[in-house]
């Protein structure tokens, strides 16, 4: 799965322009599921029908979002500098010094108005992108073009470094889960969603269309394990996190209990997660139609929404084990 994570992290896919990452993920689903389709907003839906019949079988939607944060060009000036807006909750403070890549291969460096010695807090109004052009005509990008943050994929031991572990690591966990899941009483609706970073828009419509009986999102979560971090129990390397609550959602107690019981039964290390900022696709599906019991399997990740995110490979492996074991058995009655 490590190679898969690295591969997925290398594919372009900002919110609203997920074609490439969808095609990349689609190519890994061959033989793993019974049906693959793309819906009207661009969600990639992979259906795996139940292999065993039983009382505890449900229609379970698993959602991992394929989009990543990035920037969109709003203006190209006469000298070729680009003004931009953000796609998703990009942390503006983290931009200076990072690099973006456009779909056509053009790269961009962030610059800021004024002297570097007298720097104030960067704001979108003061920042611009240098795309290596000397004129508007010479810029190989135009208004509406998008770019994603990129730095080379790295690993130190089991710690993985990439700009978009959010949520390519979750996508890899979902693909790996489909691969390892040998038998299940459930109809698995694996949805690789679009536009999560701009408000869980893909999950909203997919949730409506699929009418699942349970929703589990697979996403990254923040941690409280670095200097002066917002106090939070979750730490890297301490196992998969089972969400209790985030900004927009309280997990359904039965779903959370199912995941906790599974982890305990199979000796899978896990942590309980209370996230004060941010949410996942599960919160959108939870309120779809007449409501859906919702939970989230989280992979701890430091520096989420910055161009340098860090996660622990073992936590991702734990997430796969938790999902495979949970989905192999019955949903609690």
């Amino acid at each position: 799965m490590r190679a898969l994570i690295e591969e997925l992290c290398s594919v372009f896919g900002p919110s609203g322009q997920e074609e490439r990452i969808r095609e990349a993920i689609s190519s890994h689903l061959d033989g793993l599921v019974d049906e693959v389709r793309t819906d009207r907003l661009g969600n990639l839906i992979a259906v795996k029908r139940p292999t065993v019949s039983g009382e505890g079988g449900r229609r379970i939607m698993l959602a991992a979002h394929i989009d990543e944060i990035g920037v969109m060009v709003t203006h190209v000036d006469a000298q070729g500098f680009c003004r931009f807006t953000t796609l998703g909750g990009v942390l503006i403070n983290s931009l200076i010094g990072s690099r973006v890549h456009f779909a056509n291969g053009v790269q961009g460096a962030f610059g800021m108005e004024g002297s570097p010695l007298a720097r104030e807090r960067p704001t979108l109004q003061k920042l611009f992108l240098d795309v290596g052009a000397e004129s508007r005509e010479g810029a190989r990008v135009q208004v509406g073009d998008t770019a994603v943050f990129r730095s080379s994929f790295g690993a130190v031991g089991d710690r993985l470094f990439a700009a978009n572990l959010d949520d390519r690591i979750g996508c890899a966990v979902l693909i790996e889960t489909l691969r390892e899941l040998e038998s299940s009483p459930h109809e698995i609706l694996a949805v690789f969603t679009v536009q999560e970073e701009v408000g869980a828009r893909g999950a909203t419509t997919a949730g409506y269309g699929l009418e699942p009986e349970v929703i589990l999102a697979i996403d990254v979560t923040a941690t409280g394990d670095f200097p002066q971090a917002t106090p939070m129990e979750v730490a890297l390397g301490k196992g998969v996190a089972i969400k209790v609550m985030d900004r927009r959602m309280i997990s359904h107690p039965k779903v959370r209990g199912w995941l906790e019981d599974t982890a305990q039964a199979h000796d899978i290390p896990y942590q309980l997660e209370v996230l004060e900022y941010g949410s996942t696709d599960a919160s959108a599906v939870q309120v779809s139609r007449a409501g859906v019991p919702a939970g989230t399997v989280s992979i701890p990740c430091r520096y989420v929404h910055t161009p340098s995110q860090v996660a622990d490979y073992n936590d991702a492996l734990g997430a796969v084990r938790l999902l495979v074991n949970a989905l192999s058995g019955a949903y609690p009655s």
Partner: protein, 340 residues
């Protein structure tokens, strides 16, 4: 420029009070459409070209009938009126403006404490402004407040009230008079300015295959010190939204519109991404999702008593939509593929 556009611009209707606009559109379109209904929230839905033939593409066009304005909170003992905005108003443009209040069209002027005029350091919030009606009667809490401004020509441009989004209503009404090879549903929506509320309901009921919101949008083409985006520019054709605060446009629809415009020599521009929001925000999330895009006429000074727009842009917008509805927009969208 046009009698219907003038009538729509003059009509008064903030969110929740769209009946005057609705009545104008009903009368205008009764003879041109096959079905005309008003739903529970007040959207006017008109349809034509409905057929039982399988595979017919259902296209929904949306334009909102409501305008930004205010609402009476209470009348003070001295006869002045406390009010709040309905939709987004910049409090800086309000002092001294003429307004009309309620169904009885009571005239008034917005006033602000004279000390605020002297200090000039702080923006006086709407909660500190009052309307002076001379103590006129016939005003009740909840009455709507609209701006007063004549519809007229300003040089090569048109000036009037509520072009956001009466110009969209006008374009939609004109399109509904045409015949296109698809099932065409026009949704004149309510309550856009307070959160795109009518459009979501309309799209849920209509279940379109694709949708286009028709708008009057921000133009910021005033002279600037720095080389910054004008958002949109007057006279450069209809604007097409790639992304705004409410939605990402469907890229296939963006391509259809830009290619159609280019093929027919119709000017077009991409609106500065990230600015504003339209009915697309709720339409594209209806049910299982609806591929959607917004096409807009650039307007200077929207959300003030008087906006300016270029009649050439209105004409181009109608032309672009007509060509698209006669061609690719009337056919099912192909799959979305990454560019090679």
């Amino acid at each position: 420029m046009n009698e219907l556009l003038e009538k729509l611009s003059r009509a008064r209707g903030v969110a929740g009070h769209e009946s005057e606009v609705r009545a104008i559109l009903r009368e205008e379109l009764a003879a041109h459409v096959e079905e005309l209904t008003v739903d529970s929230i007040g959207n006017l839905i008109v349809r034509k070209g409905r057929s039982d033939a399988a595979g017919t593409q259902r296209v929904m066009l949306a334009a909102h009938m409501d305008e930004v304005g205010g609402m009476v909170m209470r009348t003070n003992a001295d006869g002045t009126v406390k009010f709040r905005s309905v939709g987004g108003l910049d409090p800086r443009i309000l002092p001294g403006k003429r307004v009309t209040i309620g169904a009885q069209s009571v005239p008034g002027v917005i006033m602000r404490a004279p000390h605020a005029a002297r200090s000039g350091k702080r923006v006086v919030p709407i909660s500190d402004l009052l309307i002076d009606t001379g103590g006129a009667g016939g005003i009740a809490p909840g009455d709507m407040i609209t701006f007063e401004s004549e519809y007229e020509e300003y040089g090569r441009l048109l000036k009037g009230k509520s072009f956001d989004d009466r110009v969209g209503c006008f374009i939609l009404a004109e399109l509904m008079k045409g015949d296109f090879p698809c099932e065409l549903v026009g949704a004149f929506t309510v309550q856009e300015e307070i959160g795109l509320r009518g459009a979501g309901v309309a799209a849920y009921a209509v279940e379109p295959d694709v949708a286009v919101a028709l708008e009057g949008t921000v133009a910021d083409d005033l002279p600037k010190q720095d080389d910054l985006s004008p958002t949109t520019e007057l006279g450069k054709g209809p604007s097409i939204s790639v992304m705004d605060r409410s939605a990402h446009a469907d890229r296939r629809l963006v391509r259809i519109l830009t290619e159609t415009a280019t093929a027919h020599n119709i000017p077009w521009q991409i609106k500065q991404p990230g600015v504003g929001g339209t009915d697309v925000g709720t339409i594209h999330l209806a049910r299982e999702g609806v591929p959607a895009v917004a096409v807009a006429v650039p307007c200077r000074y929207i959300h003030t008593p008087a906006a300016l727009m270029d009649p050439a842009d209105v004409k181009s917008a109608i032309e672009l939509m007509s060509k698209a509805l006669s061609g690719p927009l009337a056919r099912p969208l192909g799959p979305e593929r990454s560019e090679a």
